[in-house]
């Protein structure tokens, strides 16, 4: 997404002021957002929070000087140079028991059978693009847009901890039991969120994820 911000700056990133202490950077998609967020952390942008999302990165807690610094640096930013500077994230393997209630539905949507769904899911290299919804709930990219599946019309009242699920082109794993409208493929014993761990979120943004059959 090209754009011109309030200062007339042009480039791949459109910056919108988000109150006096934050900038919202608009980019083309989640992978660009992740690249920008990773870049911001790598080069040490002086923000208290760097929050990637589906098409944006929020840089919050900026001083006036830091905001000027962001504007100047992002004028020359591109997702490709950012990826080179940051390098790949670390890889996490998540063991899954494929017994989800929506396996047959997903198989039907994908024009395959349950084995085909498992093969596709375990064969996909996912990346945690961003977290949201609950602590440690990661939105995983990797599935092509044509495999997007619709959410449930009516969310389930209770989805168990460790449920592995799909919605749209995203894959996610529920860190705790909660209501949810995603399509369930199976479950994992992996601990997605533990506030006492060095890395509280197993699938923090940038983490590469492989699902394996448990």
């Amino acid at each position: 997404m090209g754009g011109t911000d309030a200062t007339g700056q042009t480039g791949p990133v459109h910056l919108r002021p988000f109150g006096p202490h934050a900038l919202l950077a608009e980019v083309a998609d989640a992978s660009e957002a992740l690249a920008l967020a990773t870049w911001a952390r790598t080069v040490g942008i002086a923000a208290a929070d760097v929050v990637p999302a589906a098409r944006t990165v929020l840089l919050d807690g900026l001083t006036h000087e830091a905001a000027d610094d962001v504007r100047a640096r992002l004028a020359h930013w591109s997702p490709t140079t950012a990826a080179t500077e940051a390098g790949p994230g670390h890889v996490v393997e998540v063991p899954v028991v494929y017994d989800g209630a929506d396996l047959a539905f997903v198989a039907d949507q994908w024009g395959t059978d349950v084995e085909g769904v498992v093969a596709r899911h375990t064969g996909t290299a996912f990346t945690s693009a961003f977290c949201g919804f609950a602590p440690g709930f990661a939105y995983l990219t990797g599935l092509p847009e044509e495999l997007a599946v619709p959410r449930l019309d009516t969310p389930r009242a209770a989805v168990p901890t460790g449920a592995v699920a799909l919605a749209g082109p995203w894959c996610g794993v529920y860190p705790t039991a909660s209501p949810g409208g995603w399509r369930l493929l199976g479950r994992t014993d992996a601990v997605l969120w533990d506030a006492d761990r060095d890395r509280p979120a197993l699938l923090a943004p940038g983490t590469r994820v492989r699902f394996v059959r448990a």
Binding site: R16, P17, F18, G19, P20, H21, A22, L24, A37, A48, D49, V50, V51, P52, A53, A54, R55, T56, V57, L58, D60, G61, F130, C131, G132, F133, A134, P135, G136, F137, A195, D196, P200, A201, A204, P205
Partner: protein, 280 residues
């Protein structure tokens, strides 16, 4: 030493300055909803600004102590007594071992703060002792029977302190990042009307009733990062001001952002009370 909780009112939580910097993991910042009141309570008992206090909703807290300690109550006005003898609001009081401190029903405002000399010393979670009520990261809510450890005293109580400045008037707002999703007059409507505080307001957000803020774009906004004080507008047009426990990301457009220095007022507004916005 420790405090023992005998009654905890509608909601009592441990709060400090919160845990910013974890929004990318889906963790709200939390922290005292009325930071100036919490800071004043800490100063009055000689604590550092980052000491943890108790945030008491509409009064009703009763605690005892197993060792003498300075205490101070600030924020929402409520009767304060020690073993039945009245004590002043916003001034240090000595709570002797075995004594009982009671906070009566708040007469105005919503959230009172109890600081104790040495601070509430529950185990920090991710660098903070604040309880987030959205995802319940942090110490559990304070219930009758809870025992709260108190840390070592770091300084003497300060018997006098500057009272907080008078209310500056309306909540000052800056235009939000999605102002272009709204009708051109939406900011004028927000700043030219009185909104009423809704009963569903909590530490997550101040929910407001009043003239709807008209949107011109009705497509779905992909979730994006949210800031403290964001005025988010759901499809019904009724604004929500995001407070300390707000979700780190949200999918409704933000029309305006409230100046952080004014947000303490949102902590003390009761359902049914009016609130006005002005351009920063």
């Amino acid at each position: 030493m420790s405090l023992r909780v005998l009654a905890s009112g509608a909601l009592t939580t441990v709060q400090d300055l919160g845990r910013p910097g974890l929004a990318h993991l889906g963790v709200p910042r939390a922290g005292a909803l009325d930071p100036p009141a919490a800071a004043l309570a800490n100063r009055l008992v000689g604590n550092a600004p980052d000491a943890a206090v108790l945030e008491v909703t509409l009064g009703g807290l009763v605690v005892t102590t197993d060792a003498g300690v300075w205490v101070a109550v600030t924020g929402a006005s409520c009767p304060v007594d020690v073993d039945g003898a009245p004590r002043g609001h916003a001034r240090p009081a000595w709570l002797a071992a075995g004594s009982r401190l009671s906070l009566g029903a708040a007469s105005s405002g919503v959230r009172s703060y109890l600081a104790v000399g040495g601070g509430i010393a529950v185990t920090p979670v991710l660098g903070s002792r604040a309880t987030d009520t959205l995802a319940w990261v942090g110490p559990p809510r304070v219930e009758p029977g809870t025992r709260l450890p108190v840390g070592p005293v770091v300084g003497p109580p300060a018997p006098h302190d500057t009272p907080r400045p008078p209310r500056p008037g309306g909540l000052r707002v800056h235009p939000g990042p999605r102002v272009d999703w709204f009708a051109p007059h939406a900011l004028t409507t927000l700043c030219g009307s009185t909104y009423e505080v809704g009963s569903a307001s909590n530490r997550i957000g101040l929910r407001l009733e009043g003239p709807p803020l008209e949107r011109v774009r009705h497509d779905e906004l992909p979730s994006e990062g949210m800031v403290l004080g964001a005025v988010q507008v759901p499809p019904d047009g009724r604004p929500v001001v995001f407070l300390a426990d707000h979700p780190p990301t949200g999918g409704y457009p933000v029309l305006a952002v409230v100046e952080e220095a004014d947000l303490w007022q949102c902590a003390q507004l009761r359902p049914g009370e009016g609130v006005r916005f002005t351009r920063a």
